[in-house]
Amino acid sequence: MTGLFQTRLQRHLREMAKYLRLVFNDFFVFALLFFLGGLGLGYSNLLKQLKYGQWWAPVIALMVLVIVVQIGRFATLIEDADRVFLLPKERAMHAYFVSARRYSQGLAQATQVITLFILSPFLSVSMHWTIAQILVLAVVQIILKDAFLRLDLASAYQVTAQRRMNQWWVKWLLAIVILASGLWLTVYAAVILAVILDIAVAVWFHQHWENQQIRWREQIKLEDNRMLGIYRFFNLFTEVPMVSGTIKRRRYLDWLFARIKPQHKQTYLYLFSRGMVRGTEFSGLVVRLTVIGMLLLYFVRGQWLPIILAALFIYLIGFQLLPFFHQYDDIVFSHVYPVASDLRLKSFVTLVTLILSVAALCLWVIVAIANPSLETAGLALLVEVVEVWYLARLYTPQRLARADKNRG
């Protein structure tokens, strides 16, 4: 069973490495370095102004530590089919879960150590903590995380009937009590409490797990959610096949479709418009990018910068819409229906034009509000109109035609 976990772990790490390569592309690394550099600079400036003995210093430290100790979930890597194929091996699964917990600790503990490292100048300036004290606090944090992951492991079994050991409020309460004792009383109290907690959970679980069943369905669901979260993050940078988005009825938006008459040439506009509005994947993307763009433009002043930024956001939205054209290629009726492919392309162009126009209008309104100059507003409008027209009417059909040819 340990072998099974190792095999899965290798596969998992290979997959993560594949996506991480795509996430940390040159542009992103560049932007990230700038961002981190900015944050670091801000932090060091803040430290210089900091005085000893403020009442709120330990409160901030407590908040940071309590939040960070929750980071790092129990990664089991179990799959849906396991509840059928591994059911006869339920007892042996224990070794699997133990390996899984050991693996989960790696990243989680590293996060704790890094946080303490970042927090250490703050602690030493505002609370005059010594290096020894900070090191002990790091140990507290590590032991706490160890105990929490033990609770997660215990909750994989039906140890306490319907109750879970790892309810979120249990973890938050324990973390607050133990870390507060460390920050306000003495750090050695915290370390003793943490050790007692960890040992208590370990002993108690050791005595109980053997007579209990695994909560298969719940664990599978938790693992699926964990992976979905990771894939969602990757999906911001690249296309991830495991993230398909969900469907919402959104009846209150039905008025949007009233203008699309049920005519043969509108067949795909009928489908695309509903798919776009009711599916969360693409509509979410458009809304997110538009809102981020609007926020950004509100704070940007100048002659050309707002215009360039607005144009950039419109391009980003238009570019991200392209794959939606192939959204229904897997559905056999998209091929069986007697609808010519150029009608389909025309419908798609209409849809892209509509979406980009609305997004461009939203961005333009913000540009006009933030820069009360007739020249900037006028130029922005001109640039946006030309760009939407080019992107939707020329670029989109060309790109899709080329992609079609390559598929061949």
Binding site: R249, T267, Y270, I331, H335, Y337, A340
Partner: protein, 244 residues
């Protein structure tokens, strides 16, 4: 002659699954496509609906091939897949409306037919639901309603009897009978041999990518005299020859 499949060699990749098959479906005829799993039934259907292009040979529907005029070819076909395929984001009403738009049907007339069909298959109170959340049998009924909404000349039905309740099977058979009378043809693949025996006019027995035999039940009986009376016996003896 509605559908003419002549000397078709084809499959999903360069390795042919279908090895030179020929058969036809005449106007007003229900032809059963019979064969084991992997015999090539679905591949044949995928070629007929135009999802796959034959490596060799020709598929003609009332005088047109898909290469000559894909619009005119597809306009004549309505397809009911074995596993229901639905648009996740469309309600039942929108599925019907989209079918009407795709086949360019007159909305008023088509809705009349639609309401009748919906009532027959007991879906008339579910128009505003997402069929993607229906049970398998109900999804299949949606596929049937969508297909029979059209005035297709050829209905292609892939294994309709598994998953439908007995009442719906009966309604479907009535519907097929009714469309046959107006001159439409049906090509249907199935494993439910006793139903096929009772309703199909002719049979195409596929085995290992080839047409083993073809004809009415009496023709099949004459061709394989020692096999037995029923379609089931003939079918079993046909597969046994190969196993021996």
């Amino acid at each position: 002659m509605a559908l003419e499949v002549s000397h078709v060699v084809g499959g999903y990749s360069q390795i042919p699954v279908l090895k030179d098959i020929s058969f036809d479906v005449r106007d007003g005829e229900l032809v059963g496509l019979i064969g084991l799993n992997g015999a090539g039934k679905s591949t044949t259907i995928n070629h007929v609906i135009g999802l796959l292009t034959p490596h060799k040979g020709k598929i003609m529907l009332n005088g047109v091939t898909i290469e000559q005029d894909s619009q005119a070819y597809k306009q004549q076909i309505a397809y009911i897949p074995e596993t229901p395929v639905l648009y996740q984001e469309l309600t039942l009403r929108e599925h019907l409306e989209m079918t009407m738009m795709a086949y360019d049907l007159d909305q008023t007339v088509a809705w009349e037919t639609a309401h009748e069909l919906l009532k027959t298959f007991r879906l008339d109170n579910k128009l505003d639901w997402f069929p993607a959340n229906f049970s398998k049998g109900m999804k299949q009924k949606v596929m049937i309603v969508c297909a029979f909404l059209t005035n297709a000349k050829l209905y292609i039905i892939d294994e309709p009897f598994l998953g439908l309740d007995p009442l719906a099977v009966n309604d479907l058979l009535n519907l097929i009978e009714q469309r046959k009378k107006t001159g439409a043809s049906i090509l249907m693949s199935t494993h439910v041999l006793d139903t096929a025996q009772r309703y199909c006019d002719r049979f195409v027995l596929l085995h290992d990518g080839q047409v083993k035999t073809e004809g009415t039940l009496s023709e099949l009986q004459a061709a394989l005299p020692e096999a037995g009376e029923s379609l089931n016996d003939i079918y079993l003896s046909m597969t046994k020859v190969d196993r021996a």
